[in-house]
């Protein structure tokens, strides 16, 4: 840990809070810049829809109080930031007695599980494919085959999701159509349940992997071409090291470093894309909850979820940044 200087950690922490604050502030300010009073319009629309007439007034009061409509804008802003900082997003408008944070926490494990597995797999597969594409000793048949794995790179994940759903769930009926496990099953650590979870998660994960691996492959290809020309690669070759060892320990080990930074930068976009994938597969994660909130015009829930997404992504970036000096010892982050 000696590479982790205090100033570096502090700087990264600063970036983390800055990102979260920026995100929260954009959510607050931009709707208020729009012509008309969006909060008033929203309250009006809620009343007009009249879905929950008996306590509509109560909800509106909660809402008015929450947004402090009678306060001045700076006061509203400070209150808003305080609520966000204490993770108190208040009550959901559509599922009224339920608190926003409870609703999100119930869905969070599914999203975290799906997303982290899919992203880690795509990172590993993509980088391996990219490195093989650039490496001199890759068998010819493999080199001819690999580019096909990158076909879906420039297509959004949810579209690949629709196609997968159509072919493998509708036409072939190999995979379930929706949900996270079979109906009527009780969650538990038994094989049957785990198998059901895997079957349900397979297509959504595949959609995310197919789309995001291409960017790692392309980046890795470029890095590996440079690395392959380095003197130590030639020396390793001349020493007669096994090519597997050269490939993993000499090639990938050095070429992977910028990829980790790229991973941190891309996380936000990937998280956004997987929200849509969850919706396509009606996978009951946070993204699906967000969709329900949008359909119900449940503004507190929408705002709460998006704040969680911002914090989650920034936190992941922070962790990646803090582990970076550990994988790249050359970087000591001291300004000389």
């Amino acid at each position: 840990m000696k590479n982790l200087s205090a100033s570096y950690v502090l700087k990264r922490l600063g970036m983390f809070f800055l990102t979260v604050w920026l995100g929260a502030t954009i959510i607050f300010i931009v709707p208020r810049l729009a012509p008309g009073d969006p909060v008033q319009a929203m309250v009006g629309r809620m009343l007009a829809e009249g879905t929950n007439v008996e306590n509509a007034q109560e909800m509106v009061d909660v809402y008015r109080e929450r947004f402090g409509l009678n306060d001045s804008l700076p006061v509203q802003y400070v209150k808003y930031l305080y609520n966000m900082a204490t993770f108190d997003s208040g009550y959901s408008l559509a599922f009224f007695p339920a608190k926003v944070d409870d609703l999100i926490r119930r869905r969070l494990p599914w999203t975290l599980g799906l997303l982290s597995i899919a992203l880690i797999l795509s990172f590993i597969i993509g980088n391996t494919v990219g490195a093989l594409l650039a490496w001199r000793r890759t068998p010819r048949w493999l080199n001819a085959l690999l580019p096909f794995t990158l076909t879906f790179t420039s297509i959004p994940a949810y579209m690949v999701g629709i196609l997968l759903l159509f072919f493998f769930a509708f036409s072939l009926d190999w995979f379930p159509f929706a949900g996270n496990y079979d109906k009527g099953m009780t969650p538990g650590w038994n094989l049957e349940f785990i198998w059901s979870v895997i079957r349900h998660g397979f297509l959504p994960a595949l959609a995310i992997i197919m789309v995001s691996m291409g960017r790692w492959a392309l980046g890795m290809r470029g890095m590996m071409i440079t690395t392959d020309g380095e003197d130590y690669m030639i020396l390793a070759d001349a020493k007669g090291l096994r090519s597997g060892r050269i490939f993993w320990r000499y090639g990938i080990r050095n070429a992977i470093l910028p990829q980790v930074t790229a991973f941190a930068v891309a996380l936000g976009a990937l998280a956004g894309g997987s929200v849509l994938v969850e919706i396509i597969f009606t996978y009951p994660g946070v993204g699906q909850l967000l969709y329900q909130a949008i359909l119900n015009s449940d503004f507190t829930l929408i705002q709460g979820i998006v704040f969680y997404v911002i914090v989650g992504v920034s936190l992941a970036v922070l962790i990646l940044d803090l582990t970076y000096p550990l994988i790249d010892p050359r970087i000591t982050y001291h300004r000389n």
């Binding site: 920026l22 954009i26 729009a34 969006p38 919706i279 503004f299």
Partner: protein, 309 residues
């Protein structure tokens, strides 16, 4: 000037044109397809009755002409009057695609133009002025980039009652400037140290002159590549919002069509043409943009030209 070059025969000029790095087939193919799609707005109404993109202007649930009707799934036999079929609200798919494609492309182009202009201003300011201006712009764009844009756009879009193409594009532009800013800043930083820029500085050229006459031309391929990447990202964001039902609701767009299809469970009903044709159009857009980006990359980076191993 023209008098002396005119005798240089047409053939010679053609060779020079052919040898120009801008004659890159990927760039030309991708750009050509995109232009064709953008112009659809004008030639679309000439080749097909695009009024049929409106709700209820055609029979519902019709299969494309070449698909046999499946009584079990409950859609009707296709007819030549609606070659690509119709959807459940009585819109003609061909008309829908002709109307929606240029709109989706336009949202991306406007958003990316705003993003790139902001990027040029901030990137040049950052790279040229340095110091605290650079620090602020760098930190701002770095942290802005890690904000999950789509999520934030969802919040904002859910407050706005009605969108048109322009307001949608402006909204998306909120997140399309950090990428260009970073690329331009790093290019400006490296160019500032090059001989020709220092030469111009020594010979007393003004800063705007150096910026626009010396640096801009060299920046052009990078600008264009960033532009297409930004267009791609903007269209992705726009269709994402439309998919959630947050885009323009009165005018048909590709994302909205897919959204309608999903809400009417078109996948389960086997009506693949409802979501299939909009997806095909979007995929063609994304692949064309990708081709343009690769082509521009090869122009900017001669080492990549013909580097296939």
């Amino acid at each position: 000037m023209t008098a002396t070059t005119a005798p240089a025969s047409l053939a010679a000029r053609m060779t020079r044109l052919r040898r120009s790095p801008w004659m890159n087939w990927k760039l030309l193919l991708g750009g050509g397809i995109l232009l064709l799609m953008l112009l659809m707005e004008f030639y679309g109404p000439l080749i097909w009755d695009t009024e049929m993109a409106k709700v209820g202007s055609a029979p519902t649930n019709m299969a494309p002409v070449w698909v046999e009707a499946d009584k079990k799934l409950g859609f009707k036999e296709g007819s030549p009057e609606h070659p690509l079929g119709t959807e459940s609200n009585g819109r003609d798919m061909l008309a829908l695609v002709l109307v929606a494609t240029p709109r989706s492309l336009k949202v991306g182009l406007i958003a990316a133009t705003v993003g790139i202009v902001v990027g040029i201003i901030l990137g040049f300011a950052s790279g040229f002025l340095g110091g605290w201006v650079d620090t602020i712009i760098r930190i701002l764009s770095d942290s802005w980039m890690t904000i999950p844009g789509l999520a934030v756009l969802i919040v904002i879009a859910s407050y706005v009652e009605e969108f048109n193409i322009n307001s949608m594009a402006l909204l998306i532009a909120i997140f399309s400037w950090p990428g260009p800013t970073r690329v331009i800043r790093s290019q400006v930083l490296s160019m500032r140290e090059r001989g020709y820029v220092q030469m111009a500085q020594l010979s007393g050229a003004s800063t705007p002159k150096i910026m626009f006459q010396e640096m801009m031309p060299n920046l052009l391929p990078y600008l264009a590549a960033t532009f297409t990447a930004t267009v791609s990202g903007a269209i992705l964001a726009a269709t994402g919002l439309e998919l959630l039902g947050l885009g323009p609701t009165r005018i048909p767009t590709l994302g909205m069509t897919i959204s309608n299809a999903l809400r009417s469970s078109a996948i389960l009903r086997g009506m693949w043409w409802w979501w299939g044709f909009p997806i095909i159009m979007l995929v063609v857009i994304f692949i064309s943009l990708f081709l343009v980006t690769i082509g521009l990359d090869e122009i900017a980076n001669p080492r990549l030209r013909g580097a296939q191993r």
